[in-house]
Every structure is written in C-alpha cells, then in structure tokens.
C-alpha cells in the first residue's frame, strides 16, 4: 500500500470513491504485482491512490487514451497464466478483457511457432485514427487493434518475416525477462510513417503504414567486439519523438544517448557530452512536450558487469536544454548516497503542464516527482512492488 512521504502527500482512496477523478492529473503506475492510479490535484501537490488493480498480475504497461482521456489499456499476465490486455472505458472502475489479445500466427505443421509471453508496450493511435492502438510484445512482435484494443492483429511484415526473425535472435539474445518490441512511435503528421525498436534488434521505420520497413541504425554504437552493421546486436532501450518537432527523436540506448534530426538517418551520440564518471547508459528517455531542445535521462552504471544502478549509489536526473550539447545534473531532493536504484525504460515520464512535471518509479517501488522540470524532487509513494512503467496524463 502506498504511504505518505516527502512533500507530495498521498491518501488511500475509499472504495466508494474509487476511480473518480477529483484532480486534473493522473499518474498511471504498472508494477510486477498490479497497477495503481494516482490522482493529483490541480497543483500536483497531493495525490490520491486508487489501487491495486489486478493485484498479483504482472502489468507491463498501463496507458490512458489521450483521444478520450477516459479509456485505459493494461498489458497483463500472471506468473502462471498467459498474457492478455484489459480495457476500461471508465477510468479503471470496471475492466473488460480483450476478445483476442496479441498472439502470433499459428505456425505451419512441424514448424516451431512463437508464443507471446507478454505484451510489453502500448501506443495509442493518432488523433485522426480513433480506436487504433499498437502493441509491442515479448518475444518481439508488432500488433495493431482497430477497435480500441478488443481484437489485435499481427503485423506479418515483421512477426513472420525471415529476415526480421533472424534479427530478433533468440530469447537468450534479449533482456533478462525476454526480448522486447517497444518504442512504437507514430509520426503525428503522416498516417503512413511509424517507427519501432527491438531489444535486441535495432530501430526500424516504415513510410507506408507498416508494409515495408528499413533499419535506422547509422551512428549507433554496439557493445565492443560486435558488428554494428548487424541489427541483432543493437539494443535501443527507449526512443521518444518530440511533440513540438516530430522530425527530432531522442534515444537512450544500451550504448549511449542519441539524437536524430530527420530527414537525416544518422544518430548523433549526444551522451558523449555527459560527465565521464556518470556515463550515458540508462533505460528511460523523456522529452519536453513543447521544447525539442529539452530532454531528460536517468543514468545507470554501465561499467564492468553492467550493474545498471545509480552511479556510485547517488541517483540523479540529467537534463539538456540544448539538444544534448550540455547536460545539467538534477538531484535536489533525491537521496545523496546509498541509493542503488534501477529505473526501467517505461518508468519515467513527463506531463504536459507548465512547468513540466517529471515522474519516475524505481524497481524498489518508490515513486518520485518534480513539479519544476527536475529542479526539485519529492517521493510521493513507496513500498510499491517493482515498478515497470509510469505514465502521466491529464484528465478531462
């Protein structure tokens, strides 16, 4: 159960008031053991906890549909049951399971077929495409729903393509809890233009609605000793498109922080401008809603055996205000030392307020926020299960 701590207070909501928003902002928290909604007041100072939803379920991603600001989709499984997607049209008061969750095509007789272990990533469609959603799975698969997340269809151009299957590698080539397709990014200006990334398997782009794809790997480093021309060795962790300039993308990769300015196809390693003692390894990538020169990362230790914890046990967010030319350490309010945090790729986000609110959740179950773009941080929930994703959205 969430407890009050720091400057941002939380009170547990009474069941009768469950899921009724009294504030403007909601923070959606998906964990290894369930999901929570934190409703904020207009000033984002106090938070009302609504949860747990799906207690005991592994929730990889919980996303609010920005087109109606009422519909939620949750990517769920349990330790023992197969994966599914739940949908709520009343902000989590009631949930209904997808009729046909993401699933790979049945293999021909005698052929080894793949099975979705879990849906990992959810992306709502464009404003011009009501009821469209995209999903990325583990092992790597791309799916689309045209009915609000009730029925999901596979992209055979990815999931069944021999070349892509080769690039996806085996389960051993992916992250410890399974290789993943993630960072499904839709160009808001062009309904035929989209990107996705695979850990492992690299970054990919389509300009014809997903019928054909090409790799987008130039400039990206891979682990020393591997061939950077081979997509299977690329491990993008998180890619974000800038809402204020959709020609600009930022990426946190296993090997560095990058920026891409289209139409160029050459990623620039802006992480080289990070302090050397901190490095540029991490999982999340967060962009400013209105300023394409501003972005945030939360570095992890990527030395020796890759502990992927806060460097020196001193957590800090780093911000750039000039497209990655320089970075500023933002750690006011965060533990000064002995905090060996890991923050996963979906577990850090920004709201659209002014000033921007930033939020992240740790694998040790703490939820932190900043109301002033990272200058000052406060913990507003702790003792949660391992946090997998954090999303912030404004309600009607």
């Amino acid at each position: 159960m969430a407890r009050t701590t720091g400057k941002a207070a939380v009170r547990k909501q009474k069941p009768a008031a469950r899921a009724r928003s009294q504030g403007r902002m909601v923070v959606l928290v998906a964990t290894r053991k369930g999901a929570w909604l934190y409703h904020g007041d207009a000033k984002r100072k106090t938070w009302r906890a609504d949860g747990p939803h799906f207690l005991g379920h592994v929730i990889s991603h919980l996303v609010l549909d920005p087109r109606d600001r009422r519909t939620l989709l949750a990517a769920a499984k349990t330790g023992h049951l197969g994966p599914t997607v739940f949908r709520s049209t009343d902000l989590g008061r009631t949930w209904k399971e997808a009729a046909r969750p993401p699933a790979f095509a049945k293999a021909a007789d005698g052929q080894p077929g793949r099975a979705v272990d879990h849906t990992f990533w959810l992306t709502p469609g464009r404003v011009s495409e009501p009821n469209v959603w995209y999903a990325g799975t583990s092992p790597q698969g791309l799916f689309r729903s045209d009915d609000g997340g009730v029925n999901w269809e596979p992209f055979s151009s990815i999931n069944d393509d021999p070349q892509y299957r080769k690039w996806m590698g085996t389960v051993q080539d992916g992250t410890p809890d399974g290789p993943k397709l993630h960072s499904i990014i839709l160009d808001p200006r062009d309904p035929a233009h989209l990107y996705f990334a695979m850990s492992g398997g690299g970054v990919h782009e389509s300009v014809d609605g997903g019928r054909n794809w090409k790799t987008l790997l130039k400039g990206l480093d891979v682990v020393e000793g591997f061939d950077s021309s081979e997509p299977t060795f690329h491990d993008p962790h998180c890619i974000r498109i800038c809402p204020s300039n959709p020609d600009r993308l930022y990426q946190q990769n296993h090997c560095g922080i990058y920026r891409l300015d289209r139409p160029s196809d050459m990623w620039v390693r802006i992480g080289r401008n990070m302090p050397k003692r901190v490095g540029d390894v991490g999982f999340p990538m967060v962009v400013h809603p209105r300023d394409a020169d501003s972005a945030w990362v939360l570095p992890m230790n990527g030395t020796t055996v890759w502990p992927r914890t806060s460097p020196d046990g001193k957590p800090a967010v780093y911000a750039t205000r000039n497209g990655g030319k320089t970075w500023q350490r933002l750690d006011a309010g965060l533990p000064a030392d002995e905090a060996w945090w890991t923050v996963k790729r979906q577990a850090m986000t920004a709201d659209a307020s002014d000033p921007v609110g930033l939020y992240f959740g740790t694998t040790s179950g703490e939820l932190w926020m900043s109301r002033d773009e990272g200058r000052r941080w406060a913990c507003f929930a702790r003792h949660l299960p391992e946090i997998y994703s954090v999303e912030a959205a404004e309600l009607k």
Binding site: H80, L81, G82, A99, A105
Partner: protein, 85 residues
C-alpha cells in the same frame, strides 16, 4: 463432464467447478472458451501448447496432448503449477 478450475482462473468461471462437453481435451477446452470467453488463451498458447505453468489431469493422470480422447464420465482437473514469487 466435470472440470475443476484453479483459483487463478475463477475470475472467468466465478466457481471452482465447471461443466463442459467434448470428445477430446481440445473440444472440452473449446467448450470452456465458449462459456467463459478468454479462459483458453490463459492456459493454451497460440501454438496450441499447454502453457508452462499449467497442468491438466484426467482421472488423476497428467495429459499433455490436446487430442486426448475423453469420456463423458471423466473428470478433468486444471492445475496452476505454483512457482516464482
């Protein structure tokens, strides 16, 4: 025939026991799916494999093949193999 449902799947059946018919285990699972939409995919993957942590017993013996013939008097027990933490 009688099918015992594990706790993890009772959100579908709302009870620990269900009635389902069919000449094979696959047919019985299809009948369960007809009655309780979504339940089959939580137990059986898209390649028609029994999921890793699900076990199915018929009259006390474990069955791994969905084409296993069944009789109307058989008892099917679906078990969630507990693991993890």
């Amino acid at each position: 025939m009688k099918v015992l449902i594990p706790g993890a799947l009772r959100s579908y059946t709302e009870k620990g026991e269900a009635e389902a018919g069919g000449a094979t285990l696959a047919a019985v699972l299809a009948d369960l799916e007809r009655q309780y939409p979504g339940i089959r995919f939580r137990m059986i993957d898209e390649q028609d494999r029994i999921r890793r942590h699900i076990r199915i017993f018929v009259n006390g013996g474990q069955v791994r093949d969905l084409s296993q013939p069944l009789n109307a008097t058989d008892e099917v027990v679906i078990v969630q193999a507990l693991s993890g933490g």
